[in-house]
Symmetry: C2
């Protein structure tokens, strides 16, 4: 293989011209999103630490995490957390440079804590336990990093990307972003951050199925729950009507 | 939405007619494959247990696991495991039916142990630690399962599938399966199960990059390592020439 770049154009039927389209979006409070974003934050912070301490970014892989569900006792007016959630941080990092040990484990936990504090209104330190399972980068891989001019690769990878979004993708993404916006949370503080939006387009008609958590401290009765659900759905309907011409039917489950 | 089934045909250019194609295959010893297959096995075994004990399959999600790398001291002629690998089993299951508690945790560990014993020659009980983090299915979801005739859905999901394989996909898949075959392991016991094959097709030429673990107890020196690597690659080349007409270049890294 040479260093050349090849571009192949393909005259396929673009998705928005197909009859059917299915799109899913998980919001910032969904466990999968939490794992991805926390690990991403740790990698960003770690890279800065390595740069500051060693002048270059050292080897690390930060994409394996497991979020173990806690247990809660839900009650109208406010329940309680019986068992905190557990965030298990996995994968690998460089722990020592030039004989100096870097406190990678504590550093990763701090990154994660800051992420929770910044992004989820109701998840605080006492609600999350941490288990650090970050292993040490293998000697073989470290040697590649010791000689940055070598440009050696330690893995095979493929990257896939696409743009722009179809109308259905924009609708699904922006509906989630709207529900997780400051403005929406101002009107509906009982709307939790764990939001999932599934969009199904058949021709020019989009069906949205919205799953959203409710925060029980803001809900005093079953009646109020159903009332708030109704009001949220109305607000979302207005948002969709104002911003999109497509026929959209939104349901909340 | 109705109960109808719609099929849309799309006249796109099939992948095998495009100039470029990239395909990756992780073999049975790759950590990602291990996680997927162990969790799948637990789900199959759990479903049988539920059927036997309760007459129906109870709710469970078994797709979250984390395999934490251990540590080893590699040596020509045979090294040793300093720290076992750790398999963290996550997700959710139904733990009690009609007031009877089912030993889900121990059951899941046994499934996993059997899987390792059956599928990986050199991974035995003492090499794997287990941490069970399987949570209890929420009450809300259980109620759906208590009334099987309701046909209610507790989630939104999309399934994607395709067939048949392109020639490049077949080559990549079968190269991995060949390296992990009994026959190949008979000729090359030093070839480990952690095999990854990456295929890149440019027009009618396929480049294969093969990563394969070596089992150190079968390798007595650096020379022998490079010799065995050479021999394996030759064997793979012959396998490819015998089975495929395409021009294939295989490298082992």
């Amino acid at each position: 293989m040479t260093n050349q770049i090849f571009i192949e154009t393909v005259n396929n039927i673009p998705t928005f011209k197909k009859r059917f389209e299915i799109v899913e979006r998980k919001g910032i409070g969904h466990p999968d999103t939490i794992c991805d974003l926390v690990m991403n934050q740790i990698s960003v912070d770690l890279s800065k630490l390595y740069l500051k301490e060693t002048g270059m970014i050292q080897h690390h892989n930060m994409d394996k995490a497991l979020l173990v569900a806690g247990q809660s006792e839900n009650n109208f007016g406010g329940g309680k957390i019986i068992k905190p959630i557990k965030m298990i941080l996995g994968d690998r990092a460089t722990f020592d440079v030039d004989g100096r040990e870097l406190p990678i484990g504590d550093f990763a936990i701090n990154s994660a804590k800051e992420w929770f504090e910044k992004n989820l209104r109701f998840v605080h330190n006492e609600h999350v336990e941490y288990q650090v399972e970050i292993g040490v980068t293998s000697k073989e891989i470290r040697t590649i990093f010791e000689n940055p001019s070598s440009f050696a690769s330690n893995d095979t990878s493929v990257l896939v990307g696409y743009a722009p979004f179809t109308e259905t993708e924009s609708i699904v993404l922006n509906t989630e972003q709207h529900i997780n916006s400051k403005q929406f949370k101002g009107s509906f503080p009982e709307s939790g951050e764990d939001v999932k939006v599934m969009g199904f387009r058949d021709m020019s008609h989009v069906d949205l199925t919205i799953a959203t958590a409710f925060v029980d401290r803001f809900i005093s009765s079953e009646n109020q729950y159903f009332q708030k659900k109704e009001e949220m759905l109305q607000e979302i309907d207005e948002f969709l009507k104002k911003n999109y011409d497509m026929k959209i039917t939104a349901k909340m489950n």
